[in-house]
Amino acid sequence: MNLLNADYNLTMIDAFLNSSSDIWPLSPANRTLETTLQQRLHAVVKVTHEAWCYAIFWKPSYHDISGEPVLKWGYGVYKGEDETDKTRRRRKTNAEEKLQRNKVLRELSSTISGVSFPVKDEDDDVELTDMEWFYLVSMTCSFRSGSGLAGKAFATYNPVWITGLDMINGSGCSRANQGGDLGLQTIICIPSDNGVLELGSTELIRENTGFFRKIRFLFNFEGYRDFSGDMNSSSCQLFSSKPRPVSVPSRIF
């Protein structure tokens, strides 16, 4: 998979066009879970102080012919980069690349616009940024357990925190490498029982334990291990077999 290759554009459009399902096939119960996930992803990019460009939740799919779980796109929120940050290095996109990207965007928009809202043509001509492009292409990606950063996090059940180009290029993940080419400087993948949360930024964000605590707070407690403290800390009692202490109301009827 080469994000900078024109041929990959066709694969992307193909992935959307060949979908035979409609947009809302979820039952009411599932829709609630989906909405919760979306809300949490929105919260992550907005509430945390770090400048995350996007949040993606990868969900395992167990329908692969090999029987192995494959991580696929669950949901994503794109926030974008800090436009005022002039220190960030920019890759020069050539005219042909720009045309290709916008062509793909127009094709994707047209597959959606027939169903819900019409997208104005002028928007499709506005140039796609590197991060927008990376995010769009990510929708079609999938990872086997152990493969890629998300796959590694899923397989080992340990978070992966990549900061800086050296780590990115040494990660062994081709998607991460291409993200690095497009301006990514930080990628993290945090596993849970339901899937893997991925966050990416064009800024250098160092690993910090306070962040894991924030994630635990924003997401489902049962789904996320406490990666910030040791196993004996009080916060880990949530995962122990002991019954949770129930708070007794001060007033009794």
Partner: protein, 144 residues
Amino acid sequence: MENNCDLELRLFPTSSYDESDTSVVESRSCGNSLSKEEESQRITIFYSEKMCVSSNVAHLQAKSIILIASREMEERSSSNGSDPRNRLTRLHHHQLPNPKASMKRSLQSFLQKRRIRIQAASPYHHHSRPYCFYFVSQFLFDIL
């Protein structure tokens, strides 16, 4: 589709057909506009060593027949186990609706937000100008 049918009918020898068939072919090849009666055309189907000629088959019905036949072909080839790729495709379509739906949902949301971002960045977007003129002119018309 009419052109293809014309070509195919001409390729096959017409000796097996009676004279009324050739007259149908001729009337269809004379221009693109068809009368109401000719819109339900005669269709000839070759399938499984059998031939079937049917008149009054509408375009939509013909397409449905082809769709059902191709599905049957797919099922037959997959039950023979001849092409594992077909099996995988079928599994994908029937058992994996959610990743595709998730992608579409995220794409929708992305496009909506992008539109807002673009409009916020350039309030004098050329598309919005006509609306400005419309509202201003309406306002002037009302007060005058």
